[in-house]
Symmetry: C2
Subunit: 250 residues, 2 copies
């Protein structure tokens, strides 16, 4: 069988996320599997680098799937883009080593969170940013973000219910910058717990609003209690930005 | 009475244009007049710099309206942004001279047309660009666009039905540039006929595709026959970018 890797961009606004139990039809996974199954005449299942929640977007989600059909990468890409909804785009298709697994082989990920600030909201970026009408102290947010860097137990910054799995993750870098009326926050880590980026963002926003001191981040991490962290920032500002694989920058 | 000028940004995707005869409720004008009437308790009518068609966007549409109510500019702006649909944003409100008229006093306008090119479509810009999957010869398009510059009878480049009104307009500048996968075409002129920008774009695209020589633009203008020009490019790539008033850059 051939193993095909896809790089996918999607506007998550309309979908119930990448995958969902129950009503699965309005998921991105379902849309992609439907088109691939139709293309190959096989019952295709795709494996993603990870799930994204309802309303979360992706610039470079990575998936792989197995097929017996011999089809060129361009044919796969163009067929999918012809039949997928316009808010899901296959940016690249390539045949990869049989052992490549989009989830197990992912070494690290980058997530981008976009905030729109100022007195005037935005008509064009409203579905892709979280609008905060008041001033945020960016320098305080940058200082606060430095306490996330490194290997920590991020239990306080997750909505994980299971107590069995490890909640230790390593954050390599957080880059916060202003671009006009936007604040762009880039998170790079070896993995992220459920809702982890959105809770980190919600907590950093409270620092930016002066409700918390930057140093409190360290204390919150140490308590390992979700209630001590800030709220979960809305889904629409979050983008799965990049997935990195060993020796391979996707 | 006070005369208030508004600068407005809107995502035209969902609307039947700025104004429409018949079913007027799904127009941008109707949405704005409804909110202003509610705010003032008066029956407000707004005058726009010009109409935009269904699906066309605006970054800086300018309107004015008269009211007896004394309200601060910030109050007007914030009230509107609170009650307007999220795809319509008041960027600025200011009290202006009683004689200011958003349509009659407009001296020139800029329109932006955005094209997305390449083998891979876009999930995020699909509502704000016209996607052309094949190569376009930008240099030929730039050369062709130079024939539009100056004062011409643009009858061949309009869908105007009335034969009474003048179809002479002056184009000051057309700037075509590539930004990654985007081609951005900026048109600056003293006024534009109905569908004029979209027909100019449709014709320039045919030049970019090698279907026409750049020099043909001059010939098409001279024939004054609509059928000799190219097709009307789709609405979703068009933005009313800026409206200029005497001694006043809005």
């Amino acid at each position: 069988m051939r193993n095909i890797k896809l790089t996918i961009e999607y506007d998550g606004s309309k979908y119930n996320g990448w995958q969902r139990l129950g009503n699965t039809e309005n998921t991105i996974q379902f849309k992609i599997e439907s088109v691939l199954s139709r293309m190959t005449g096989e019952n295709i299942e795709v494996i993603a680098s990870g799930r994204t929640d309802a309303g979360v977007h992706a610039l470079n989600q990575v998936v792989n799937f197995k097929t017996n059909k011999i089809l060129s990468s361009e044919y796969i890409r163009d067929y999918c883009n012809k039949y997928l909804p316009k808010d899901i785009v296959i940016k690249d298709a390539e045949e990869v080593d049989d052992r490549f697994h989009a989830r197990y082989n992912a070494k690290s990920k980058k997530y981008l969170y976009r905030i729109w600030t100022g007195e005037i909201p935005t008509a064009f970026h409203r579905k892709y940013t979280y609008y905060i009408p008041h001033y945020l102290d960016i320098e305080a947010m940058k200082k606060a973000s430095s306490y996330f860097i490194g290997k920590h137990d991020f239990k306080a910054f997750s909505s994980v219910k299971s107590k069995k799995k490890s909640t230790i993750r390593e954050i390599y870098e957080i880059n916060i910058k202003e671009e006009g009326k936007e604040i762009q926050m880039m998170f790079h880590g070896n993995g992220f717990l459920y809702n982890m980026v959105r809770i980190m963002v919600g907590t950093l926003i409270e620092v930016g609003e002066g409700k918390r001191r930057p140093e409190e981040i360290e204390e919150i991490i140490n308590t390992k209690v979700r209630q001590n962290a800030g709220p979960t920032a809305p889904a629409q500002g979050l983008f799965l930005y990049q997935v990195y694989y060993e020796g391979l920058q996707v």
